[in-house]
């Protein structure tokens, strides 16, 4: 090649290279953006390492109208349940209540009121319709840190023996229930 003018193939390859790179980057971005709208890609998602681990040690008091619970209660479970962190001051929690109320017949849901005043949490549950079989109160939010919770709502699917089998940091949707939660919960039933 020294001194010789570039061959046409070579020139064409060099011309195509930036186009190919730009195209590749474009496809990458397009996939990220479409994943964000479909929900399969969330750049803010925190991949908490809680999966397939036993629930952390905790014991939380009652939150009216429900009964509090502890790690022992979850570890004694024989069939799967959902544990849902919520708060009366959290808008997405209000949004997911109808979905949780529709789910409670198929899968028991235990709630944990996160950094909430007892009377506010009670009012919230009474207004929205109570989907929870039991409700505990995490007033200082320190048990939540042990769970790796970074905000509300956050939901965990607890398998038999109190092992965390699934986790989401976004509000529960009907799609999530049919595509992920129920199939997984059914597979965990004894």
């Amino acid at each position: 090649m020294s001194g010789q003018p570039s061959s046409p193939t070579r020139r064409r390859l060099l011309m195509a290279a930036p186009l190919v790179v730009a195209g590749g980057v474009g496809v990458g971005f397009w996939r990220m953006l479409s994943g964000m709208t479909k929900g399969s890609f969330d750049p803010h998602d925190i991949h908490a390492p809680a999966l397939n681990r036993p629930v952390p040690d905790f014991a939380l008091p009652d939150q009216a109208p429900g009964q509090g619970f502890s790690a022992q209660d979850l570890r004694a479970l024989k069939s799967p349940i959902l544990v849902n962190y919520f708060a009366s001051w959290c808008i997405p929690c209000v949004a997911e209540m109808p979905v949780l109320n529709a789910l409670k017949e198929r899968l028991p849901i235990w709630g944990i009121a996160y950094k909430d005043k007892p009377e506010h949490a009670l009012g919230f549950v009474q207004r929205a319709g109570n989907p929870y079989a039991r409700i505990a109160a995490d007033r200082d939010g320190l048990a939540a840190i042990d769970w790796g919770v970074s905000g509300v709502p956050e939901t965990f699917l607890i398998g038999p023996g109190g092992v965390i089998r699934w986790h989401t940091a976004s509000p529960i949707t009907e799609t999530m229930i049919t595509s992920t939660i129920m199939p997984l919960a059914d597979s965990l039933k004894p």
Binding site: S2, H44, I46, G141, I145, G151
Partner: protein, 159 residues
């Protein structure tokens, strides 16, 4: 006079805005949060500045005024007061929130590219530079073919 006082009003409003900005930033430094031992407090701050606030994700928990950041600061101080090492506290956090909570990602297979990118970019740069400068600058033109020579003489003659 009217315009004068209006102008003053504007200046005062601006001053109020500018002076209250540092107050907002300092809201995080609630003295009641701090450990009594300055050395321990300094350690807690150093650890906290390496931990990501999971609510406002590009701030450290020491910088953020989010509720969760305050709780995490409190937890860090509890652990420091208990005499745990920086590594123990970091591991405790990573155990709960994953490596995402570390503002400085650890060197793993997944972050290898991130860490070696500067070196890689330098190597690519040196490679390109070497490849470019190695080539002779003067390019000897290929002699004209008979066809081209004929065409050239045609063109010059018509002139």
């Amino acid at each position: 006079m009217k315009t004068h006082s209006l102008r003053h009003g504007g200046v005062i409003a601006l001053l109020v805005c500018l002076l209250s900005a540092p107050l907002v930033a300092m809201a995080v430094d609630d003295p009641s949060e701090m450990l009594p031992d300055p050395a321990q407090e300094q350690r807690a701050e150093a650890i906290g500045s390496q931990l990501r606030c999971l609510v406002c994700q590009n701030e450290s928990i020491e910088d953020s005024s989010a509720d969760l950041a305050r709780d995490l600061r409190h937890v860090v101080r509890e652990h420091v007061a208990r005499g745990e090492s920086n590594r123990q506290i970091m591991d405790w956090m990573v155990n709960r929130y994953g490596n995402f909570i570390r503002l400085r990602p650890p060197l793993t297979v997944g972050t290898l590219l991130l860490w070696i990118m500067p070196l890689l970019a330098l190597c690519i740069g040196i490679g390109v530079a070497w490849w470019t400068f190695r080539r002779p600058r003067t390019v000897t033109p290929t002699p004209l073919t008979d066809e081209e020579r004929r065409r050239l003489s045609d063109l010059t003659e018509t002139r």
